[in-house]
Symmetry: C2
Subunit: 115 residues, 2 copies
DNA sequence: GCATCATATCACTCCTTGCTGATATGTTTG
DNA sequence: CAAACATATCAGCAAGGAGTGATATGATGC
Protein backbone atom coordinates (compact mmCIF):
# COMPACT_ATOMS: atom_id res chain seq x y z
CA UNK A 1 0.00 0.00 0.00
CA UNK A 2 3.01 2.16 0.47
CA UNK A 3 3.61 2.09 -3.22
CA UNK A 4 -0.01 2.92 -3.94
CA UNK A 5 -0.03 5.93 -1.66
CA UNK A 6 3.09 7.27 -3.32
CA UNK A 7 1.58 6.64 -6.70
CA UNK A 8 -1.59 8.51 -5.95
CA UNK A 9 0.32 11.36 -4.41
CA UNK A 10 2.50 11.55 -7.49
CA UNK A 11 -0.42 11.12 -9.87
CA UNK A 12 -1.89 14.52 -9.18
CA UNK A 13 1.42 16.22 -9.85
CA UNK A 14 1.96 14.20 -12.98
CA UNK A 15 -1.48 15.01 -14.29
CA UNK A 16 -0.89 18.69 -13.73
CA UNK A 17 2.46 18.60 -15.45
CA UNK A 18 0.95 16.75 -18.36
CA UNK A 19 -1.79 19.29 -18.70
CA UNK A 20 0.65 22.17 -18.65
CA UNK A 21 2.80 20.47 -21.25
CA UNK A 22 -0.27 19.87 -23.38
CA UNK A 23 -0.96 23.57 -23.18
CA UNK A 24 2.48 24.16 -24.63
CA UNK A 25 2.44 21.30 -27.11
CA UNK A 26 0.73 23.02 -30.01
CA UNK A 27 2.47 25.01 -32.75
CA UNK A 28 -0.24 27.65 -32.84
CA UNK A 29 -0.04 28.28 -29.13
CA UNK A 30 3.74 28.32 -29.21
CA UNK A 31 3.66 30.80 -32.08
CA UNK A 32 1.35 33.02 -30.07
CA UNK A 33 3.51 32.76 -26.97
CA UNK A 34 6.52 33.44 -29.15
CA UNK A 35 5.27 36.75 -30.48
CA UNK A 36 3.97 37.70 -27.04
CA UNK A 37 7.40 37.11 -25.55
CA UNK A 38 8.56 40.16 -27.47
CA UNK A 39 5.87 42.30 -25.91
CA UNK A 40 2.10 42.67 -25.44
CA UNK A 41 -0.09 42.67 -28.54
CA UNK A 42 -3.73 43.06 -29.45
CA UNK A 43 -5.44 40.15 -31.16
CA UNK A 44 -5.38 41.34 -34.75
CA UNK A 45 -1.65 41.99 -34.42
CA UNK A 46 -1.15 38.44 -33.23
CA UNK A 47 -3.18 37.24 -36.19
CA UNK A 48 -1.06 39.25 -38.59
CA UNK A 49 2.27 38.19 -37.13
CA UNK A 50 1.51 34.52 -36.83
CA UNK A 51 -0.49 34.11 -40.03
CA UNK A 52 -3.10 32.08 -38.17
CA UNK A 53 -6.82 32.60 -38.70
CA UNK A 54 -8.62 34.93 -36.35
CA UNK A 55 -10.94 32.34 -34.79
CA UNK A 56 -8.04 30.03 -34.33
CA UNK A 57 -6.00 32.66 -32.52
CA UNK A 58 -9.00 33.53 -30.44
CA UNK A 59 -9.59 29.93 -29.43
CA UNK A 60 -6.00 29.41 -28.45
CA UNK A 61 -5.87 32.69 -26.57
CA UNK A 62 -8.83 31.58 -24.54
CA UNK A 63 -7.05 28.36 -23.73
CA UNK A 64 -3.85 30.16 -22.78
CA UNK A 65 -5.84 32.62 -20.71
CA UNK A 66 -7.71 29.90 -18.85
CA UNK A 67 -4.43 28.18 -18.18
CA UNK A 68 -3.01 31.39 -16.79
CA UNK A 69 -0.18 31.49 -19.28
CA UNK A 70 -1.24 34.84 -20.69
CA UNK A 71 -3.16 37.79 -19.26
CA UNK A 72 -5.36 40.32 -21.02
CA UNK A 73 -6.31 43.97 -20.62
CA UNK A 74 -9.08 45.73 -22.44
CA UNK A 75 -7.92 48.86 -24.25
CA UNK A 76 -10.86 50.55 -25.92
CA UNK A 77 -12.22 48.11 -28.42
CA UNK A 78 -8.96 46.21 -28.44
CA UNK A 79 -7.87 43.52 -26.07
CA UNK A 80 -4.21 43.38 -25.36
CA UNK A 81 -2.60 40.08 -24.37
CA UNK A 82 0.70 39.54 -22.62
CA UNK A 83 2.78 36.76 -21.11
CA UNK A 84 1.65 36.31 -17.53
CA UNK A 85 4.94 35.33 -15.97
CA UNK A 86 8.64 35.55 -16.87
CA UNK A 87 8.87 31.91 -15.88
CA UNK A 88 7.18 31.07 -19.12
CA UNK A 89 9.90 32.73 -21.12
CA UNK A 90 12.42 30.94 -18.93
CA UNK A 91 10.76 27.62 -19.60
CA UNK A 92 10.82 28.19 -23.34
CA UNK A 93 14.51 28.98 -23.15
CA UNK A 94 15.16 25.79 -21.21
CA UNK A 95 13.36 23.84 -23.85
CA UNK A 96 15.62 25.30 -26.47
CA UNK A 97 18.60 24.31 -24.34
CA UNK A 98 17.32 20.76 -24.15
CA UNK A 99 16.70 20.79 -27.88
CA UNK A 100 20.36 21.58 -28.40
CA UNK A 101 20.97 18.09 -27.07
CA UNK A 102 18.05 16.07 -28.38
CA UNK A 103 16.96 17.92 -31.51
CA UNK A 104 17.78 15.20 -34.05
CA UNK A 105 16.14 12.55 -31.96
CA UNK A 106 12.98 14.58 -31.56
CA UNK A 107 12.77 15.25 -35.27
CA UNK A 108 13.25 11.58 -36.00
CA UNK A 109 10.65 10.31 -33.55
CA UNK A 110 7.62 9.24 -35.48
CA UNK A 111 5.89 7.03 -32.98
CA UNK A 112 3.84 8.58 -30.23
CA UNK A 113 4.39 12.27 -29.71
CA UNK A 114 4.40 12.02 -33.43
CA UNK A 115 4.93 13.83 -36.59
CA UNK B 1 8.39 39.29 -47.40
CA UNK B 2 10.52 40.16 -44.46
CA UNK B 3 7.75 38.96 -42.21
CA UNK B 4 7.42 35.73 -44.15
CA UNK B 5 11.12 34.93 -43.92
CA UNK B 6 11.03 35.45 -40.18
CA UNK B 7 7.95 33.32 -39.93
CA UNK B 8 9.47 30.42 -41.77
CA UNK B 9 12.68 30.70 -39.83
CA UNK B 10 10.70 30.66 -36.61
CA UNK B 11 8.39 27.89 -37.81
CA UNK B 12 11.03 25.18 -37.68
CA UNK B 13 11.96 26.10 -34.14
CA UNK B 14 8.34 26.25 -33.12
CA UNK B 15 7.60 22.89 -34.65
CA UNK B 16 10.50 21.33 -32.82
CA UNK B 17 9.47 22.82 -29.53
CA UNK B 18 5.94 21.62 -30.06
CA UNK B 19 7.14 18.12 -30.74
CA UNK B 20 9.30 18.03 -27.66
CA UNK B 21 6.43 19.31 -25.56
CA UNK B 22 4.17 16.67 -27.07
CA UNK B 23 6.72 14.11 -26.00
CA UNK B 24 6.34 15.38 -22.47
CA UNK B 25 2.60 15.92 -22.57
CA UNK B 26 1.43 12.46 -21.60
CA UNK B 27 0.90 11.18 -18.06
CA UNK B 28 2.33 7.78 -18.85
CA UNK B 29 5.53 9.21 -20.25
CA UNK B 30 5.82 11.66 -17.38
CA UNK B 31 5.34 8.84 -14.91
CA UNK B 32 8.10 6.89 -16.62
CA UNK B 33 10.42 9.88 -16.66
CA UNK B 34 9.52 10.51 -13.04
CA UNK B 35 10.63 7.09 -11.83
CA UNK B 36 13.69 7.20 -14.06
CA UNK B 37 14.72 10.52 -12.52
CA UNK B 38 15.44 8.60 -9.34
CA UNK B 39 17.76 6.24 -11.14
CA UNK B 40 18.03 3.74 -14.00
CA UNK B 41 15.51 0.91 -14.09
CA UNK B 42 14.75 -2.16 -16.17
CA UNK B 43 11.38 -2.35 -17.89
CA UNK B 44 9.55 -4.64 -15.54
CA UNK B 45 10.54 -2.41 -12.65
CA UNK B 46 9.11 0.57 -14.46
CA UNK B 47 5.95 -1.41 -15.04
CA UNK B 48 5.70 -2.26 -11.37
CA UNK B 49 6.37 1.23 -10.10
CA UNK B 50 4.08 3.05 -12.49
CA UNK B 51 1.26 0.53 -12.57
CA UNK B 52 1.05 0.81 -16.35
CA UNK B 53 0.67 -2.22 -18.60
CA UNK B 54 3.81 -3.72 -20.05
CA UNK B 55 3.03 -3.02 -23.72
CA UNK B 56 2.08 0.50 -22.82
CA UNK B 57 5.36 1.11 -21.03
CA UNK B 58 7.22 -0.45 -23.90
CA UNK B 59 5.50 1.76 -26.45
CA UNK B 60 6.20 4.90 -24.51
CA UNK B 61 9.79 3.88 -23.87
CA UNK B 62 10.29 3.50 -27.56
CA UNK B 63 8.92 6.96 -28.10
CA UNK B 64 11.11 8.43 -25.38
CA UNK B 65 14.10 6.57 -26.77
CA UNK B 66 13.49 7.81 -30.31
CA UNK B 67 13.13 11.32 -28.99
CA UNK B 68 16.44 10.96 -27.17
CA UNK B 69 14.92 11.67 -23.78
CA UNK B 70 16.02 8.33 -22.37
CA UNK B 71 18.85 5.96 -23.18
CA UNK B 72 19.06 2.20 -22.79
CA UNK B 73 21.69 -0.43 -22.06
CA UNK B 74 21.28 -4.14 -22.41
CA UNK B 75 22.10 -6.07 -19.25
CA UNK B 76 21.75 -9.77 -19.84
CA UNK B 77 18.14 -10.36 -20.69
CA UNK B 78 17.15 -7.07 -19.12
CA UNK B 79 17.22 -3.67 -20.72
CA UNK B 80 17.96 -0.83 -18.40
CA UNK B 81 16.65 2.63 -19.18
CA UNK B 82 17.89 5.95 -17.85
CA UNK B 83 17.35 9.66 -18.30
CA UNK B 84 19.61 10.79 -21.13
CA UNK B 85 20.42 14.27 -19.88
CA UNK B 86 20.23 16.18 -16.61
CA UNK B 87 18.58 18.96 -18.59
CA UNK B 88 15.45 16.87 -18.60
CA UNK B 89 15.33 16.79 -14.84
CA UNK B 90 15.98 20.52 -14.88
CA UNK B 91 13.13 21.10 -17.27
CA UNK B 92 10.74 19.09 -15.12
CA UNK B 93 11.75 21.17 -12.13
CA UNK B 94 11.11 24.37 -14.09
CA UNK B 95 7.67 23.14 -14.94
CA UNK B 96 6.94 22.60 -11.29
CA UNK B 97 8.15 26.11 -10.60
CA UNK B 98 5.80 27.46 -13.23
CA UNK B 99 3.00 25.36 -11.81
CA UNK B 100 3.48 27.09 -8.49
CA UNK B 101 2.20 30.18 -10.27
CA UNK B 102 -0.37 28.84 -12.69
CA UNK B 103 -1.56 25.61 -11.12
CA UNK B 104 -5.17 26.62 -10.47
CA UNK B 105 -5.52 28.06 -13.95
CA UNK B 106 -4.18 24.95 -15.54
CA UNK B 107 -6.52 22.73 -13.56
CA UNK B 108 -9.45 24.91 -14.49
CA UNK B 109 -8.71 25.08 -18.21
CA UNK B 110 -11.12 22.83 -19.97
CA UNK B 111 -10.89 24.12 -23.47
CA UNK B 112 -8.02 23.11 -25.64
CA UNK B 113 -5.12 21.48 -23.85
CA UNK B 114 -7.89 20.32 -21.62
CA UNK B 115 -8.58 17.34 -19.56
C1' DG C 1 17.06 -27.66 -27.73
C1' DC C 2 13.16 -26.44 -24.88
C1' DA C 3 10.88 -23.88 -21.38
C1' DT C 4 10.87 -19.49 -19.37
C1' DC C 5 11.26 -14.90 -18.66
C1' DA C 6 11.96 -9.97 -20.48
C1' DT C 7 10.77 -6.92 -23.88
C1' DA C 8 8.95 -5.37 -28.34
C1' DT C 9 5.51 -5.09 -31.99
C1' DC C 10 1.01 -5.33 -34.24
C1' DA C 11 -4.01 -4.53 -35.25
C1' DC C 12 -7.66 -2.32 -33.63
C1' DT C 13 -10.73 0.98 -31.36
C1' DC C 14 -11.95 5.14 -28.88
C1' DC C 15 -11.35 9.69 -27.63
C1' DT C 16 -9.47 14.17 -27.87
C1' DT C 17 -7.94 18.03 -30.26
C1' DG C 18 -7.34 21.39 -33.84
C1' DC C 19 -9.06 23.78 -37.79
C1' DT C 20 -12.55 26.06 -40.62
C1' DG C 21 -16.65 28.87 -41.86
C1' DA C 22 -20.39 31.13 -40.17
C1' DT C 23 -22.21 33.85 -36.76
C1' DA C 24 -22.71 36.29 -32.31
C1' DT C 25 -21.16 39.77 -28.91
C1' DG C 26 -19.34 44.00 -27.85
C1' DT C 27 -17.30 48.65 -28.58
C1' DT C 28 -16.48 52.85 -30.84
C1' DT C 29 -17.53 56.55 -34.18
C1' DG C 30 -20.49 59.39 -37.04
C1' DC D 1 -29.17 54.53 -33.66
C1' DA D 2 -26.60 52.53 -37.36
C1' DA D 3 -22.32 51.11 -39.38
C1' DA D 4 -17.82 49.36 -38.85
C1' DC D 5 -14.44 47.11 -36.61
C1' DA D 6 -12.40 43.85 -32.91
C1' DT D 7 -12.98 39.71 -30.76
C1' DA D 8 -15.43 35.55 -29.21
C1' DT D 9 -18.27 31.46 -29.86
C1' DC D 10 -20.38 27.49 -32.15
C1' DA D 11 -21.13 23.20 -35.09
C1' DG D 12 -19.00 19.99 -37.54
C1' DC D 13 -15.29 17.46 -39.54
C1' DA D 14 -10.74 15.17 -39.93
C1' DA D 15 -6.60 13.45 -37.98
C1' DG D 16 -3.57 11.74 -34.52
C1' DG D 17 -2.51 9.53 -30.33
C1' DA D 18 -3.30 6.36 -26.36
C1' DG D 19 -4.67 2.05 -24.58
C1' DT D 20 -5.58 -3.03 -24.91
C1' DG D 21 -4.94 -7.93 -26.09
C1' DA D 22 -2.58 -11.03 -28.65
C1' DT D 23 1.63 -12.28 -30.43
C1' DA D 24 6.50 -12.08 -31.87
C1' DT D 25 11.46 -11.63 -30.81
C1' DG D 26 15.29 -12.42 -28.04
C1' DA D 27 18.10 -14.09 -24.16
C1' DT D 28 18.98 -17.34 -20.32
C1' DG D 29 19.30 -21.75 -17.83
C1' DC D 30 18.38 -26.64 -17.40
Amino acid sequence: MQVFADRNAAAAGIERRAKLFRGLADPSRLAILGVLCEGPLVVHEIVKRTGLSQPNVSNHLRCLLDCGLVASDRDGRFIRYRISSPRITALLNDVDALLDVVAEGVEACDNYCGE
